[in-house]
Amino acid sequence: MRTATDVVCPFCGTLCDDIEVDVDDAEKICATRNACIIGDNKFMTAQAPDRHLHPRIRRGGELVESTMDEAINKAAEILVNAKHPLLYGWSSTHCEAQEAGMALAEGVGGTMDNTSVCCHGPSVLAIHTVGISSCTLGEIINRADIVLYWGCNPVNAHPRHMSRYSLYKRGFFTERGKSDRTEIVIDVRRTETAQKADIFLQPEQGRDYELMNALRVAFRGGPLPESVAGIPRAEIEKVAQMLKDGRFGILFFGMGLTMTRGKHRNIDIAISLTADLNTYTKFLIMAMRGHYNVAGADQVSLWECGFPYAVDFARGFPRYNPGESSATDILARKEADAALIIAADPGAHFPIDMVRTLASIPMIAIDPHVTPTTEIASVHIPSAIVGIEDAGSAYRMDNVPIRMRKVVEPPEGVLTDQEIIERIHRRVMELQGLEVPEVTAVKEPAEALAPSAFDDILQRAT
């Protein structure tokens, strides 16, 4: 038996990097430590005996097993024959695969979009408008004495967020951990997170914007009506004063703000509210990103083409117009005539009309598991699980990049996301009549590597 340490959990945006995984002599994962239940499950089910390992192509209405070459070829044909393919997902894979996806999207003149479109896309739109004042999670560990969760429920969705970063962890200027901090929760629902909070405000449904507006008025000592969004004036003024009086505050927000009435306007005012607070104290804000590498999908897209998601390459250059060039909208308008879905499951998460569109067009699904998406696909190529069977970069919710580790080899014959995308791209180029570059060893050794003695020290266990 061996134990892999410092393993990074490939599930949520908390991106815990302290997981220990026991692997037995038969290379089976047999236990994990430190992970939450969800994370543990991710590792423990990775090698389930019923995991599907072979590519499948739809023939006569049925998905039937095929060779890898057939599946790659079929996938390439679908993309080359399409006028406007959609390449969607990307949030549960590493940045290296995302980069390969950007090149492919450009090569086939498709639209590249990630799951931001249905989680924090509105947050990104707000950032375009007002910017964002944020920090890394360690700043919160070490300094935060006011922790405000608004429209998010970490107890269920990011189980280790509070213990690792925000509330319970003792930091440099927060030696006493939880007792040095005040936790405020604002949510239309009385969530499990809310039940533990020091202060809980429950605004009326869809009126978060008004409450934030009222807080901004209260900061300035302006007049407020008797109540706003169902919260009495005195409560609002009390919380406003607490936010101002803290040494270092942080506002975490989730889809309770981004995907409810107001959408990006909610985030716009949440960011403006935190910016206001910097007149009085230090106050920052952070999105609770869901998929473990959705933040990375935004980052890769940004550095490669300048836009974070919903990028349309149909005209040979990047066009960005969320609402028009976003996956959901393209599917709603039935505009895509083919799709490649990877590292996300729109079959389970998109509105039914859009799923119907997906089912009606040639669609390639790349996913380690059988999902609602793979079952409506024309081609399904199972892939290695990033963070368990493949290494590469992922960006935590605070945009800290961590290299996902490879704990075990993928099952025989199963390729990584990156290999699959690159092989499809090479086949696409052949079909397009382009010169296919030789496969160069991307990982050339450095010219004068550091002495290995030092590497040992560097890798010393903490």
Partner: protein, 568 residues
């Protein structure tokens, strides 16, 4: 084996004392050689200017805050996207271009190396991912250490050996190239919304002064014999009257010599000095103080500056100087991004419009040019815009046209706000630079300051085969009267050769190049266990990642070039 012969060009190569002589440059594989065989590919450079590849010593072109800038400014791409080509990827961005665009624009200007001036250690992996994805140009990144908790603790406790070991560990862990200080102490203070305006303002809690951080890291830098000196973004950037703080900072290292004077002359490079040469007391009586700063640099041959010219464009400011960006946001009320990094540093991003109609912007424009022209030795003053802070790097050709033509400067001055001429000295400075000076400010100078003078920035035998060939005949054309021609010339080379590979012909990218990431390993293969214990404690207690997940893995510098300083 591939061979190229660049024939009959007017060669400007200050390191080797070649000033416009007609010469051939021979290239075999990736190096410049004495001679090549008759079968070598011949490039006819007659009637053209030939220089080594340009080197940008200070730009923000890769990494987290650059991506924040891209994210925050979709409008920056509005009229600035480019289509994919046979050899090129699509992209866009005027002041914050995508990585592909960055590589292409530099290469078209004849640049073959550009260094990322601020890499937050915790996010170093991000910077390296972007650099690895940036085509054509060699790159390195400067590791931010001026607000690092352990650095401040060692300095406070006077533990110099430990500081040295820690600096070496950090450069290795981040695959960084140099010790960079940004608003030393001030960015830590910003963790609490405060700042260190003067170099004697103690850092809250840590109780060291910025002056001690500067001297301490400069000393460690020399003890480790690092290829380049410390690079300092001084305290009090961008405020009226800040030239006093700058003079104070200069004094700290007066008379200090580099450990190995053969490699470089300076013990400190002042970044974007233009932003630190301000007089007046408020923006109302704002004026130039370039003269005393230039005097001081002229006196101190152990110092260099990169200028940070204001180009009078709409741009995006971004810096690890968190408090400065917040101040800027409160001045121009445009959108504000902030990103504080645990135990290490901070960052901010704010768009900025340097309007020629606003007096302050016009004065800033003049200050940059004055500095460059008042510093006697162009080997001490390098062309930068602190991209994109004072303007985008794609404006270097325009800056060169201003430096080469007094008439161009006077014409521009005339279009600026009416108070500008009274607050600046530029109108009375008639000095103009020639191609030899420009080669110093963009090639020989930065290469030497970076400690890469043997390998880069010149055309002597043994140098990297990085060559720029420009369509300009210095014998028949006159730069002093032809600023538009100069700008056009430096915008698109006739040829750019990088590492022996022709990457640009007539302004068009023709290759995928052979970029490398350069970094420094000063560890000598060992580490003091006591320092490792100190580092480990920081990770166990205060960092949000584990120590084993912190260092940048070799995969990210696959095309790496490691410089290992020798310590006698």
């Amino acid at each position: 084996m591939s061979e190229i012969l660049v024939k009959n060009g007017y060669v400007y190569d200050p390191k080797n004392g070649v000033n416009g002589d007609v010469m051939d440059i021979a290239i075999r594989d990736d190096k410049i050689v004495d001679a090549v065989s008759p079968t070598a590919k011949v490039i006819d450079a007659s009637g053209k200017v030939v220089m080594a590849g340009g080197i940008d010593i200070h730009a923000h072109i890769a990494g987290p805050k650059v991506n924040v800038g891209r994210n925050m400014r979709p409008e920056d791409k509005l009229f600035n996207t480019s289509k994919r080509g046979k050899m090129t990827r699509s992209g866009g961005g005027f002041s914050v271009p995508s990585v592909f665009e960055t590589g292409y624009v530099y290469s078209r200007m004849g640049y073959t190396q550009a260094n990322e001036a601020a890499m937050p250690p915790l996010l170093a992996r991000h910077t390296h991912e972007e650099m690895a994805d940036t085509p054509l140009i060699d790159q390195s990144a400067y590791t931010l250490l001026g607000n690092n908790w352990l650095v401040m603790e060692y300095i406070k406790r006077g533990e110099k050996d430990k500081l040295n070991a820690f600096v070496a560990w950090m450069l290795h862990a981040t695959k960084g190239y140099c010790v960079k200080l940004v608003n030393p102490g001030g960015s830590e203070a910003w963790g609490w919304g405060m700042n260190c305006v003067n170099i004697s303002d103690p850092v809250p809690y840590f109780d060291v002064m910025p002056s001690e951080i500067i001297s301490g890291l400069a000393e460690a830098n020399e003890a480790l014999n690092l290829p380049t000196s410390i690079h300092l973004h001084a305290n009090n950037l961008g405020h009226p009257g800040n030239y006093q703080t700058t003079l104070d900072s200069i004094k700290l290292l007066e008379g200090v010599l580099p450990r190995d004077g053969k490699i470089r002359d300076q013990v400190i490079n002042f970044a974007h000095m233009q932003f630190h040469s301000y007089g007046g007391t408020t923006w109302k009586d704002f004026e130039t103080e370039a003269q005393p700063i230039a005097d001081s640099i002229n006196k101190n041959k152990n110092m260099t500056v990169d200028v940070g010219f204001v180009t009078l464009d709409e741009t995006t400011t971004m810096t690890a100087d968190g408090p400065m960006e917040y101040y800027l946001h409160n001045t121009n009320h445009l959108k504000w991004a902030n990103a504080d990094i645990e135990l290490e540093t901070a960052a901010g991003v704010v768009p900025y419009i340097y309007s020629p109609k606003i007096s302050v912007c016009g004065i800033q424009w003049a200050i940059g040019l004055e500095l460059a022209l008042l510093i006697d030795d162009p080997m001490q003053a390098f062309i930068t815009t602190d991209h994109p802070n004072a303007g985008p790097f794609r404006r270097y050709p325009r800056i060169i046209s201003w430096l080469m033509s007094n008439q161009a400067r006077l014409d521009r001055l005339e279009t600026l706000h009416k108070v500008v001429p009274d607050r600046v000295a530029i109108g009375g400075i008639s000095r103009v630079f020639d191609f030899y000076d420009i080669a110093k400010m963009t090639r020989a100078g930065p290469a030497r300051a970076l400690g890469l003078g043997d390998m880069k920035g010149h055309l002597g035998v043994g140098a990297d085969a990085d060559v720029a060939i420009y369509n300009y005949n210095p014998k028949t054309m006159d730069p002093t009267t032809d600023p538009a021609g100069i700008e056009k010339t430096f915008k698109n080379t006739a040829y750019t050769i990088k590492g022996g590979d022709i990457v640009v012909i007539d302004g068009e990218v023709v290759s995928k190049g052979n970029k490398r990431t350069i970094w420094v390993d000063a560890t000598n293969g060992s580490m003091d266990p006591a320092v490792l214990d100190d580092i480990e404690k920081k990770f166990v207690r205060f960092y949000s990642v584990t120590m084993n997940n912190y260092p940048v893995q070799d995969e990210y510098v696959a095309r790496g070039l490691v410089v290992k300083p020798e310590v006698a």
